[in-house]
Amino acid sequence: MEEDPNGKHPMSATTHIHQTHTLSHEGNGRKISVKVLRQSDPRGGSHWETFEVPYEPGMNVTTVLQRIAANPTNAEHEHSTPVAYDSCCLEEVCGACTMVINGRVRQACSALVDSLLADSPEGIELRPMTKFKVVRDLFVDRSPMFAALKRIKAWVAVDGYHDIGPGPRISPREQDEAYPLSRCMTCGCCVEACPQFNDHSTFIGPAAISQAILFNAHPTARVERDDRLAVLTGVGGIVDCGNSQNCVKVCPKDIPLTTSIAKAGRDTTLYKIRQWFGR
């Protein structure tokens, strides 16, 4: 599509809603203002850059970033570079494209432009998550989250690859409890919104606590239950939760994180009592 020589088109929510159904695929020349907080390398120094992206019906933020990559000309008509971002599944199951969209942490792939514009007609603002080191632009290094999963041993330990027969039976009730926790994709939303997870705190974060509860409920993974509880009773463990409960509200997978946290509060207390009084 040709660049509009007159540049910006003012937008309003009402015109947008009417146009959605009548537009051709080119979007009638209407453009979305997309403000991106950019950073060229991990050493810092970020700046805002605005792009005018031609509107298309049914766009998501990933599409917007693809359109910018195809034509990286900013709103000042200067030639820029494609905006770097992480992505993989494009269907909200991998967590890679997590970023702060219009002030709220979520996945770019499931952030629909139509609903974003309905809430804020002036445009879309994209920032990288603030709790992780930025690699470039919207691409952050989420490795601290995976390190936390290693600390709490978020796995079912097996001795080898030989056939050890069927595993223990898990009742449907236990499955119903465990399944929501297993949906976690380690995306980082919960820690991004958590006021206790920051660079002057050692808090391990809601995702890892919830995974500890998930694996402690598994009949085979229970073998390492006390190892997990030892981590949760250590520095940066469960006691660093401040009960702001933002985690459960921003979780894209509706994981009952605050339930896991409260269970961890109970399990760690009992674990410590067992320890102090020698079981």
Binding site: T233, T259, G265
Partner: protein, 253 residues
């Protein structure tokens, strides 16, 4: 952040991290929280029917019947746990990075308020103890008196005179009392989660209503008592109990 090399060298603070933080939660409830409830209930006695301040006087006398044991009980039972709770509270506040502006959820705002009211209550309690308690006498405070020289009741009148000494004292007390009450009510709600008693959203919500009700009752008791002391006629109250007017003299003693 969540990059951890803590396992290497464990300091005592790290080793007893969990215990220290659970003690923080516990001291907030017992004795500090219990003390606040008792304190505000006794204050509210100023509103009791009968001769002005007599029921309040009797309640305070019951506490003072501990005699020489009162000071050690106060120090070990209230001041030290309170100081531990407050100082560790400040350490905890330094690990927080509030984002209530960005994520305006009710629970997030309550989280922010819990920290703000903790600071306000701490400053207020210092002011309040200096002003009323005999601990503050050496620094020009310590206005509260149980008896005058002739054994007349002074608990209500000295309290009222202190509150009425300037127009800004009652508002400071209102802010201080409301902060302390909020901090306790919301603190009970979070402690129920901390100790793993309310696990699911429904039980947490139910506990929220109970804590809110407790907070409202304590606020009404606290503000009611404050208003009682504010409205108490200092001259009359003293004269009624002791038979002679000693207000001005005892206030400056």
């Amino acid at each position: 952040m969540a990059e951890h090399e803590h396992q290497a060298a464990e300091s005592p603070a790290d080793k007893y991290y969990f215990l220290i933080r659970r003690l923080h939660s516990l001291t907030g409830l017992v004795p500090v929280g219990v003390f606040l409830v008792v304190h505000l209930s006794i204050n509210a006695m100023v509103l009791a029917p009968g001769p002005v301040g007599s029921e309040f006087q009797r309640s305070v006398e019951r506490i003072h019947s501990l005699g020489p044991l009162l000071a050690p009980v106060e120090i070990v039972g209230i001041f030290l746990p309170l100081l531990f709770h407050a100082l560790l509270g400040f350490v905890i506040i330094f690990t927080c990075q509030s984002n209530a502006q960005q994520y305006r959820y009710g629970s997030n705002i309550r989280y922010m308020l819990q920290r703000a009211t903790g600071i306000i209550a701490f400053v207020f309690i210092f002011y309040h103890v200096w002003q009323m308690h005999w601990f503050g006498e050496w620094a020009g405070g310590g206005r509260f008196r149980l008896y005058d020289e002739s054994g007349g009741a002074l608990a209500a009148t000295t309290t009222a005179a202190t509150i009425q000494a300037a127009w800004w004292i009652a508002p400071i007390y209102a802010i201080g009392v409301l902060s302390a009450v909020y901090h306790l009510a919301n603190g009970i709600w979070t402690s129920l989660i901390t100790w793993g008693i309310t696990i699911r959203p429904r039980s947490q919500q139910a506990a929220g209503y109970v804590c809110a009700a407790l907070g409202i009752v304590l606020s009404l008791a606290g503000l009611g008592a404050l208003n009682g002391f504010r409205a108490l006629n200092v001259t009359e109250g003293t004269a009624q109990k002791t038979g002679h007017s000693v207000t001005a003299a005892t206030r400056d003693r």
